[in-house]
């Protein structure tokens, strides 16, 4: 069967409905086992020792005292003499012990001599980074309508042309914007429990890449990927930080091999925050020229930021974000800091780009005294994707849900109640979301049992349930009739869950396999009933001739026709191949309403509207849930979260949950999720949803604060200190 398709809209029993997670009870009750719950008999506990210094060289490592600590079984240095350490918390050694306490004491008993080197962690001030010789070569990218003459110097022309365009603009807005580094903050830190059976390694790894990590264990351990099985039934968050086996995962396997016992190694929270990934910072100096309607004519920006010791920062490829004016110049400088390395963080680059550029667009509205909504609307002709019409429609819907028009006031001109003002702000975003490679194996047993197996993973997003829905819908069965087997590398390979690729990938492979399997089963049923196979439909637990309910078999009766052997059918999808089941590219509009206490600088989200397209929706409940979660995560980085580094020592000062500020439920306000779904969305098939709704909150909230106060608080998160500083009252 070559043609795959989804059932027509309105004819489904599970797809496009609200279904509760099939593993919800297991998670809520504690029955679900995470990596650190795996506790085979004799398991040793391992602990990592983090370097206390941000930049140094190792002169000596003495583990003799640590080995003598009662309960310590093995001490294993992770660094050698002479190695240079580039950030505080980089792992120096591991200790495996009978108990957590002994492991901790063992770590404390390791003596390391360091040669201290110069420390630099200030990513916010470009001049300071230049003075410290920590900047990379600035990268420029220029796009202009006019071109230089044959004999003209290109750079001189560009400079003159930018200046000319700025002078020709009705309004020029200059501003500084920024967003600090935030760290990954999965509830479950990185880690694994590893056990060997002879030369065979089983790694219970907290991973968003079940099918892709076996080889990462194998190579450094001198075995092959075929000797490794990776398991991850449940994961307490990944968000882009858990694609790899990681050096500490390999170390856990090595400790297990050397001690001959299972070993569990989960990172402590402080090492987790310092070492296991963060989101790069972005700071920008912008000059925008716009016409009197707020349509941007020219964009000129210089940005900088850091991804850690290797430099980096926010990609200039998404600056300005979504909008791509015909005339623009952008320069990006990377700053190397003595800080842990970045890892993909939900929609890499996009949230920062939105926060540092849609704020500048909003300042155009403020400068002209016009409605921010109109400025976003009028600039839609310059969007970098083909979604201008979708944005228009979504903006209209979002405005209706926010009651934007009736609530709007010019920047800083709202009513003040006591010391409290309110304001509105918005942002728009874009993402791909096409499916990843995915293979699955569906088995129909002669007794009617159905299972599907694939090496995918459920990050908490509801992937397990989505897979069940797709298979059950195809077979006309209830959701609980399908046994969904994921979370093991022994199953058919499926892609890593990153970039919003999972839902389309696993829906593709499972729908294909299920349709093929049903076609094979229908051949048997057709012969039995004496009808054409093409005339059969599977619904409500039966396979029947369409239009003739008297000719039917129950699912169980139909499966019995298989005889002794189960029917196994593989489904396969390759990323990028044309398909009627899935597509890619989404838009999305978000609006925030906030209150600001001018006396304390505290920002309180009142209402947040998220309008999001995502093609065909498999499970409405988990889709909405994804958006709620993304908005909450967005509020966190907009108002609360930041990595705070000590400029003197390079210490990561708030690397624990007591000091790393995060919002609580009462700090979130009302969230209105709108699943944007005209028939055209259903028709284009499944598209990923994970990243897009986390992108716009920074811009929307910062713009709302600017609208409320009449002042731009330039850098996110918008802490009371920064708000008061911007208001000039501190």
């Amino acid at each position: 069967m070559a043609e795959y398709s989804w059932p027509r809209r309105g004819t489904t029993s599970l797809i496009d409905t609200e279904q509760t997670r099939i593993d919800g009870v297991a998670k809520a009750s504690g029955a679900a086992k995470y990596s650190c719950d795996i506790n085979p008999k004799g398991t040793l506990v391992a602990r990592a020792m983090g370097c206390p210094h941000a930049h140094c060289k190792i002169k000596s490592i003495d583990i003799s005292l640590a080995k003598d600590v009662p309960g310590v079984v093995l001490v294993s240095p992770a660094k050698a003499i002479g190695d240079e350490i580039q950030w505080q918390g980089d792992i120096i050694a591991y200790v495996a012990a009978e108990t957590e306490g002994a492991a901790a004491e063992g770590v404390a008993a390791i003596t390391v001599e360091y040669e201290m080197l110069d420390v630099f962690v200030d990513d916010q001030h470009l001049a300071a980074a230049e003075a410290a010789d920590r900047t990379g070569k600035p990268l420029s990218n220029v796009q202009l309508v006019n071109e230089p003459g044959d004999d003209e110097d290109e750079e001189a022309f560009e400079e003159a042309e930018i200046q000319r365009l700025l002078e020709a603009s009705d309004v020029v807005v200059e501003g500084n914007y920024g967003i600090n580094v935030i760290t990954h903050m999965c509830m479950e830190p990185h880690g694994s429990t590893c056990e060997w059976n002879g030369d065979q390694l089983t790694a219970h790894l907290s991973t968003q890449n079940v099918s892709g990590t076996a080889g990462q264990f194998a190579d450094p351990l001198g075995i092959t990927a075929s000797d490794v099985t990776v398991h991850c039934d449940f994961i307490g968050g990944g968000f882009g930080s858990k694609f790899a086996a990681d050096s500490w995962g390999v170390a856990c396997a090595e400790l297990a091999r050397q001690t001959g016992r299972p070993v569990r190694l989960m990172l402590d929270r402080d090492i987790e925050l310092k070492t296991a990934g963060n989101r790069p910072s972005g700071f920008i100096k912008v000059k925008i020229g716009a016409d009197k309607n707020g349509v941007v004519q020219v964009w000129d920006s210089q940005q900088w930021g850091t991804s850690g010791a290797s430099g980096g920062g926010v990609s200039q490829g998404v600056v300005p974000y979504v909008f791509d004016p015909e005339n623009r110049r952008r320069t990006a400088t990377s700053i190397a800091t003595n800080a842990g390395p970045q890892r993909a963080w939900r929609a890499p680059n996009h949230p920062q780009a939105a926060a540092i550029t849609h704020t500048a667009y909003d300042d155009v509205a403020a400068a002209l005294g016009i409605d921010s909504y109109d400025v976003f609307l009028r600039n839609l002709d310059s969007v970098s994707n083909d979604k201008a019409d979708v944005y228009r429609a979504q903006m209209e819907r979002a405005a209706e849900l926010m009651q934007w028009k009736s609530k709007w006031h010019a920047h800083g001109k709202g009513e003040k109640k006591g010391s409290v003002v309110t304001g509105l702000g918005m942002g728009i975003h874009t993402w791909g979301g096409g499916g990843h490679n995915s293979t699955c194996r569906i088995t129909i047993h002669p007794d009617g049992g159905v299972e599907t197996a694939l090496g995918s993973q459920d990050l908490g997003t509801g992937t397990r349930t989505v897979i069940g829905i797709v298979v059950a819908e195809t077979f006309g069965l209830p959701l609980d009739a399908v046994n969904v087997k994921i979370g093991s590398s022994s199953y058919p390979a499926s892609g890593p869950s990153g970039g919003s690729t999972t839902v389309a990938g696993v829906s593709e492979s499972n729908r294909r396999a299920a349709q093929d399997a049903l076609a094979q089963l229908n051949e048997l049923v057709a012969a039995k009933l004496g009808v054409g196979a093409a005339d059969l439909v599977a619904k409500e637990g039966r396979i029947q001739a369409s239009g003739d309910a008297s000719k039917s078999l129950s699912w169980k009766e139909a499966c019995a026709l298989l005889g002794m052997t189960p029917l196994e059918v593989n489904g396969e999808f390759r990323r990028g191949e044309p398909s009627s089941l899935s597509s890619s590219q989404v838009a999305g509009v978000q609006m925030a309403e906030v209150a600001v206490d001018l006396d304390t600088g505290i920002v309180k989200p009142l209402k947040f509207v998220a309008v999001q397209d995502m093609g065909l929706i498999i499970n409405r409940k988990t889709a909405a849930s994804q958006i709620y979660g993304a908005v909450i995560m967005g509020i966190a980085y907009s108002i609360f979260e930041e990595r705070i580094m000590d400029l003197q020592t390079g210490a990561f000062l708030n690397a624990e949950l007591a000091d790393y500020r995060l919002p609580r439920l009462g700090d979130i306000g009302e969230i209105v999720v709108d699943l944007w779904e005209p028939d055209s969305e259903y028709e284009r098939g499944v598209v990923g949803l994970g990243e897009p709704p986390v992108i716009s909150p920074g811009a929307a909230i910062s713009n709302a604060v600017a609208n409320a106060t009449g002042v731009r608080v330039p850098v996110l998160p918008l802490t009371p200190q920064r708000v008061l500083d911007a208001l000039g009252s501190a």
Partner: protein, 349 residues
Amino acid sequence: MKAFEYAAPRRESELAGLFSGRPGATAVLAGGTDLVGLMKKMIVAPDRVVNIKEIASLYGISADSAGVTVGAVTRLDEMLDSADLDAFPAVKQAIRGINSMQLQSQGTIGGELCQRPRCWYFRNGCGLPTELGRMVERGDNRYHAIFGNRGPAKYVSASRIAPALVALGASVRIVGPASGEAVEGPPKNGAPVAQDGNALGEAIMPLADFFVTPRAPHQGETVLDPDQIVTHIHIPRDEQIASATYEVRQSEGPEYPLAAAAAALRIEAGVVTEARIVLGQVAPVPWVSEAAAAAIVGQAVTPESARAAGEAAVARATPLSQNRYKVQLARVSVERAILQAAGLETGGF
């Protein structure tokens, strides 16, 4: 966590001899919400941990006409539930503000008062709170002191409840070896007397004097010697006093406030005749502002007079390089604590 000896005395008298006079050698365990974290990070590494939660006489709330006595190991949620403490809204508001059921149901009042500073240099193992003055001065001091910060101590007193208790004129009972300097004066206020009078003695002092700003390393944040513990807190009853705690909290989480103030006001015929204003999270001790009290005494509480008191409170603040904003927040805290004590709208969130 370093291995340690564990003692769980059942009676106050059994405390004798359990504590070492050497700083850091013994640690008092009550709720453990602060101590256990510090021990896990090996910021403190005692040889012996003495769990005082099993001592029945240190537990519970008792009231009489003179006031209310709260045993040091009484849990914060029990204080919230106690009708005896309804007369002291500043105390209940401070406990509610902790915003964490875990801390409220595990933490004790004695531990809350004796918790160590939240200074992140201290918590990151850079040294004792008193050794970090220069580091804080040159470093990230956004949450540090804006008062009383000229010496080596630049952290802020962590206690959330102390400002309210100090404003209400609470006293504290301390027990330690009979030879200890702080041990003098007769037992008062119905607090239990140590059963072994030979080995242990007690002292009762105003809570305002309990907190000290250390001038040298190894001086603690309180008057307690390493072999002394807090056993009871006594709040005097005064029906005429209106009180409130106002904390500037960025979130509804358990994070510490950016600034706070407690106000205890005697209001007669619409005019404040006596006031005690104590700021929290702004100095190494709960910071008693005589200036704020003087500004509001003789006035009716109005938005204007409250604001003037707030301004008086911060007139002599000495912010560090990065915490000037806390001066504004301290001012607002005082203003809003006064308004709230008088039952008026605070005007903010």
